[in-house]
Structures are given as C-alpha cells and as structure tokens.
C-alpha cells in the first residue's frame, strides 16, 4: 500500500518534471491516492488513543507531508505575504504550520470512533477536488472536500472544505484579524502565531 502510493507519487512527479506547466499531469486517480493516504493517516491518529500533544504532533506531520503548507500559509496572509523577506517567509510558514496543527489537532478527539470515506474526484480548472464524507458517531454525515494540486511538482492538498467552509478562506479572515491586532507588523504576527491555536 505504502509502496504503491510512493510509486504513484513518484511517477506523477516524474511526469511533472517532463511537463512542468501541465496541471493535467495530475490525474484524478492520483489526487484520490493522495487523499486516501491522508485519510488513512488521519484515521490512524484518531484510533491511536494518543495524548493530546501526541495527536497534535502527528497531525503536524500529516499536514507537512501531504499539505502544500507554503501555499496555504501564503494565501491565508493574502497580499501582505509579498512584504515578507526570505527569512521572515520561512519563519511565518513554520509558525503558521504549528498554529494550524495545534488549532485543528486538539480537536481530533472529537473524531474518535468516526471515519472518512472518499467518494470521487472532479477536475476544477487546474486542480482536483476530491469529495469525501465524514461519518462521526451521533452526527449526520457531512461533506469534506480536499483540493489537490501538483504546483510544487508533488501532489499536495492546498485546502480542505467542510460543508462549504474552506480552511484557507476561514484562516484568511483570522490571520488578517491577527495582523490588524498587531498593527500590520509581520514579526509580531509571527510571534503571535507561535503561541496561538
């Protein structure tokens, strides 16, 4: 399973390196392979029964491995991202990654006893939308969509949309508010992110 995923991923990146500008090099099947791996890893964390901090750090690993963290972080900041220097950019992305992992990782226990099922994939412009359904005990099933692209040369998800609510768009509003609170000071935003979530 792991090995097949790896082969699929590496053949996809080989194809990408041949056709660097072609988004179509990523097929819907490959997008689904990625999401299936994410879901398998998430399900593993949910059922691991680990401590909260253990779950948060596992979630951070999943997020970094399968997520286009740089794109998610950058687009959450919006046009202000262009003001970041090279060094600031790295510390912002890593502070953002930690913030997201704490914020969402600490909610993992709510998923205990639940599962996510992948339903299918459709192409939207230059990316793929993988549709899945989350089944949580005592709740009506709800839609979870993963948006996948190969922008970086690797298949990565760059957004997760739950019942229409996009993680990226919601964080855009939140990060914008944090930046306002810090009077537009990007360094202060970075230190605020390190302690938030």
């Amino acid at each position: 399973m792991k090995r097949r995923d790896f082969l699929a991923l590496s053949s996809a990146s080989a194809a990408v390196s041949l056709l660097p500008m072609q988004a179509s090099a990523l097929s819907s099947a490959e997008a689904e392979v990625l999401v299936n791996s994410v879901v398998a890893d998430i399900n593993k964390v949910i059922s691991s029964g680990k401590s909260l901090n253990g779950m948060i750090s596992d979630f951070e690993k999943i997020f970094k491995r399968y997520g286009d963290v740089s794109f998610i972080a950058g687009s959450a900041l919006g046009p202000d991202a262009r003001r970041l220097s090279g060094g600031q950019q790295n510390s912002y992305v890593s502070a953002f990654t930690g913030y997201i992992s704490r914020k969402y990782g600490k909610r993992f226990n709510e998923f205990a006893g639940g599962r996510i099922e992948v339903n299918g994939t459709k192409q939207v412009k230059n990316y793929y939308e993988v549709n899945s359904t989350a089944f949580l005990p005592g709740q009506s099933p709800f839609a979870v969509n993963f948006l996948v692209s190969n922008r970086t040369g690797k298949n990565l998800f760059f957004d997760m949309v739950i019942e229409g609510i996009s993680l990226r768009l919601s964080e855009k509003s939140e990060i914008g508010a944090m930046l306002d609170k810090n009077r537009g000071d990007l360094n202060k935003l970075i230190s605020a992110l390190k302690t938030s979530g």
Partner: protein, 255 residues
Amino acid sequence: MTLFSRLRQRPVRAFIPMLLVGGLLAGCASNSTVTSAEIYDPREEANREVHELNLAIDKVIFRPVSNGYGTFVPENGRLIVSNFADHLSLPADIVNNVLQGDLKGAGSNSFRLVFNTLFGFGGIVDPSSAVHVPRRKTDFGETFHVWGVNEGAYVELPLLGPSTERDTVGTILDFTLDPVSVLLPNPEKYIGTAANVADRLGDRYDLRTTIDSVLYESADSYAQARSLYLQNRRFELGVEVQDDDLDPFADPFGG
C-alpha cells in the same frame, strides 16, 4: 386529514404577505450580486454592536443554560427533542419545497411527516432516516434564493446570529407563516417554538467546542462568524462561489 387540506391552502394564503415581502427584498438586494467569495457588509459597525450583545447573551445565558441542558438531559433525550423539533418543521419545509418547485424534496418530507408520525411515536423517533428518506431541510430564505433574490448585505441579528438581508426576511416568514403555529390552537402553537429553542440549546451543547473556539478564541470573532456563516450558507444553497485567488499555481509570496 384537516391538517393536510389546510396545508394545501397555505401557499395561496401565504402568497399575499409574500408579495409585500417581495417588494421589500427587491429594495434591499438591488445593489449587490454576491456570488463570489466576497463579503458585502456595509453596516458592519451596527452589526458589530449586535455581535457584542450576542456575545454577552451567550456568555451569561445561552452557554451556561445549554451546558446545563447537555449535562442534565442525556444524549437520547436530546435526540428525541431534536427529532421532534425537526418533525414539527416538516410542514414549513414542505410548503417551501413546493414554492421552490422541489417536488422530490416535498415528496421526501411528506413521506417523513406521515411515516414518522405513525411509526416514530408522533415524530420523536426518526425511522424515515433508517429507510433512507433523509430530511430536505429548507426555509423561506432558500425559497427566495431559488426565486432569484440575491443574498443582499450581511446582517447579524440579535439572539439569532449571522444572517443576510434575504435570509432575515426569510426568517421572519419562517416564524410567522409556520403552519404548525398558524394552525394549532393557542397553548399548543408554542410547542414548535419550545422544541426549537430546546433543539438550539442541544446544538449549542453538541457543537460547544467549535462555537466556543469561534466566539471566544478567534482574533476577531465577528469576522470569523461572518466568514463561516456565509461560506456554509452559500454551500447549503448550492451557490457557485468564484474564488478569484484560488489559483494554486500562483505564488502567494509573489516570487
């Protein structure tokens, strides 16, 4: 039964206030075509004052009462209340399904109304879902959407929370034209409202972690609630959202 025959007359009688409301909506939604990820909130300052009020009400009343409700009423009890509240809103759902031309939804909801009344002990149990006839939940806001009314400006309502101009008018009609409260005699007509309030307490309890995180841990809880509400509402209504900056091939750092 009489309930059904009177129900069938409902849309016709409901049509007159709806015409009045139509004029109202045409006025408030004229200058906006919000089909994008954009947020149109010209009365943000007033909305923020309502938000502060809502936060205070939640902190002092709604959250503690819902925690008490969730603690003292076991999960099965809350499920019964929730099923019953859903059941009582079926007549209103069916009216709206019909007004939207959604005959399939009207069919499912009518089936649920009959089936759950007969085999679900008057609606406190939901055997319809077990036979795969889920509820097609709807409201007057959705009917206006189907009729082509734009959502208008964002509004935060006292007690009820996030809404839009269109959905505010819809909510008023949901309250005033609900067949259950219109048709039932005096003390019984409030049963739907009571069940709804209890159901909302249960939702506040079940979703307490999420709601607390939005209301009390966000950098700007007003903006966060607005964003979440609009995204979710547009999704529910099937509005195609054009997100202009959703191009994963554009470098957000401007490289």
